[in-house]
Symmetry: C2
Subunit: 424 residues, 2 copies
């Protein structure tokens, strides 16, 4: 994309009413815009990142048998009365013209259970795994963590349906592996721990995926022997790892980037969602649920991957693979360079087109702004590679390539750029 | 996809509380599920269709310079007070915990104007075109037209921003062409007319894209000379075409599948959204807006493309290109056929894998159900091609291929299927 066409602009300062680092830097770089606390518009650069995160999740969830659907955001309150969640803290309430009371979906158990009840009748119909990407509405009293805790946010929610606990446990393990693959591809694996948290009625533990960062709202204790963590909410500070009895637990602040629950019959039972078993008896369907917030994942990536100049996107979730900077210095220069400057537009345009034709996504800074502004914006936006075309590099028939976050610049012959960038 | 894995099932009868043909057939075939009147869950088959419609629209809108974003559904009512739309008929109202009043987005002018106001300062920043796919919430008193008029539905809304009316007019023409491309690719072009409708304060006319079908809620008059139509709301029954004075207008019921408006400064003015012109003066930004409902487009396609047995999907929006039916007849058969039956699982699986490996999307009916049920479901679901593998076809080393909606069946050698299907 030509940066001259992009409607957003970067800002030197974050808005004064934004206190979280993730939202500050994403707003400054033009990835998101704040409508009000906890509610953000996703701008073109942010949209590209979220779509990449979404597609990574989609691939990995499809790989473990997920079938994608799209459920409504308007929910009849009657469904919530069945599960006793009609007065939970985070609901938004609204009404149809005919007076029917509705809530906005804060999760979708109350919708997917009566839906699946229409199709799952027998043990032959199990197991089934169904997911969606859909907006969740949560009426948080305070929303001070930027896109880490929104009052409206996109989430992937997967629900699994099983004959019994054994079958759920087997799938639950597959989901755990898929989640690690997702966080690996999002560049979060090294700092993300499977974390034991409070389990509810059916299971002793639920599991969170906690990414270590100072911005985290949660406190976890990491057992480096088991390579797992325990949420502070379920452990005393001085106690040992419940699995290996290791007493040297490491405390850290962390962001919950995903969570998975064994629901058992917590939601199937209130709806009378049963199947006919092999022996003809009726049994409650056993459920699991598996969530990942998209905006929260994007926010966690910025908290973890940045330096003082801006974001450093992991390659698979970067808005573009490379920033291509056309530098037309206005300083006095030797005659040879002046000759090169004449062709710089044509050569830069050709490099841009060639890269795109070869499947390399490029943000082409063709703007008529200062050299300093181009370099600063490339660092702030944070694409993995910066390619500079200037009279100086063209004197050697080269461009200058730098990995974002590294100090090393490399001159590469303009005929070899495609090959180099594609194989970095 | 293996149909044995698909969690939905077809139904012989539509639900009793569903009166519109589009929803009846989409529910029977397992594309959508009704949560309550005007609010539907999109099931896996429907999801595939909607994603294809979405991607067609995305491609064509990107081609006319659209930049994709994603705006929130929760809107501060304060923004609506500025434009005087805080009491319009279709709003849902809700509240934050701190008492702040919100409405659910029924359209996004009140959000995109203050957003663009942050980035568009000068004539140099214009024109800009920005769009999204986002849920719209409209509190309709009645919702009896299935997915043609939802109380919650996905829509593509594009907004364009210009220096003056001339520039808007130029872009408006490009958008008109893009819309016809979209409806062509969705299989609706032949029955869709650019229709003149009421224009509001800024412009004499707005334009609707009306698709002729008996299920339509609108009445239009078609001028076959100009190849346009006029909405009944702005014309007297007996009057002539306002462009060529042709008096032989053809009356038809139609569905509004898209609409485009010249908004002028209707929304920019209340927000004081101005730009600095070439001469240094401040001028109101001139706007256009352009909508297409995704579910409504899917519904219109089913109203237009079906027979008594089911839907007939146009190829570019079909959930799968082909249904592959494995037929294991249990009837008595000659010895040669019995031999073939032994290999039918293996051969069918191979055809399925080969088709997929060659980029042909296939719904593989590998279920253990009757032959009649397989044929009926294939017709009901309505993929463009039906490929039958049976002992009878395998005797000739062939499969039987039929175009949905045609009577002609063709025997094709199993080594030539890929080639044939890819080049149909």
């Amino acid at each position: 994309m030509r940066q001259s066409q992009l409607f957003t602009k970067t800002a030197k300062e974050p808005p004064k009413d934004e206190f979280s680092f993730n939202a500050q830097i994403l707003i400054r770089a033009g990835f998101i815009d704040k409508l009000f606390a906890g509610v953000y518009t996703i701008l073109p650069l942010g949209f590209k990142v979220l779509k990449k995160i979404e597609n990574i999740i989609r691939e990995e969830i499809n790989n473990i048998g997920g079938q994608e659907i799209y459920m409504p955001a308007l929910h009849p309150i009657a469904n919530y009365k069945k599960t006793g969640r009609d007065k939970i803290d985070v609901l938004y309430y609204t009404k149809l013209k005919n007076g029917s009371e509705l809530v906005l979906g804060q999760s979708h158990e109350e919708i997917i259970v009566p839906l699946m009840q229409k199709f799952i009748l027998s043990y032959k119909d199990l197991p089934k795994m169904v997911y969606q990407f859909q907006t969740k509405f949560r009426n948080e009293l305070r929303a001070k963590s930027g896109i880490l805790r929104g009052r409206e946010f996109s989430m992937k929610d997967l629900y699994s349906f099983h004959k019994n606990e054994e079958d759920l446990n087997e799938y639950y393990k597959m989901a755990q592996k898929a989640y690690f693959k997702i966080f690996k591809r999002c560049g979060l694996l090294d700092l993300t721990y499977l974390t034991y948290a409070s389990g509810g009625t059916f299971s002793k533990f639920s599991h969170e995926y906690q990414t270590i960062t100072e911005a985290g709202e949660d406190l976890i204790y990491i057992c480096d022997k088991c390579e797992i963590a325990i949420n502070k909410k379920i452990i005393k500070e001085q106690s040992a790892c419940p699995f290996c009895q290791n007493k040297k637990l490491r405390e850290a602040k962390a962001i919950e980037v995903g969570n998975i629950f064994k629901l058992g019959n917590r939601f199937s039972h209130p709806f009378g969602f049963q199947y006919t078993a092999e022996d003809g008896s009726k049994k409650d369907v056993v459920m699991g649920c598996y969530g990942i917030g998209l905006g929260r994942t994007m926010g966690a990536i910025t908290e973890v991957h940045h330096d003082k100049n801006g974001i450093i996107w992991p390659e698979e979730v970067a808005p573009f693979v490379a920033s291509l900077l056309k530098i037309k210095s206005k300083n006095a220069m030797p005659a040879g360079r002046q000759e090169k400057v004449k062709n710089i537009d044509k050569i830069s345009d050709k490099i841009y087109t060639d890269l795109q034709d070869n499947g390399v996504e490029v943000l082409y800074d063709d703007r008529d702004v200062s050299v300093g502004e181009k370099f600063a914006d490339a660092d702030l936006i944070g694409c993995p590679y910066r390619i500079v075309v200037s009279a100086k590099t063209l004197m050697k028939n080269c461009v200058e390539v730098k990995r974002r976050g590294s100090d090393k610049e490399e001159l590469i012959n303009i005929n070899e750029i495609i090959n180099k960038i594609s194989n970095y």
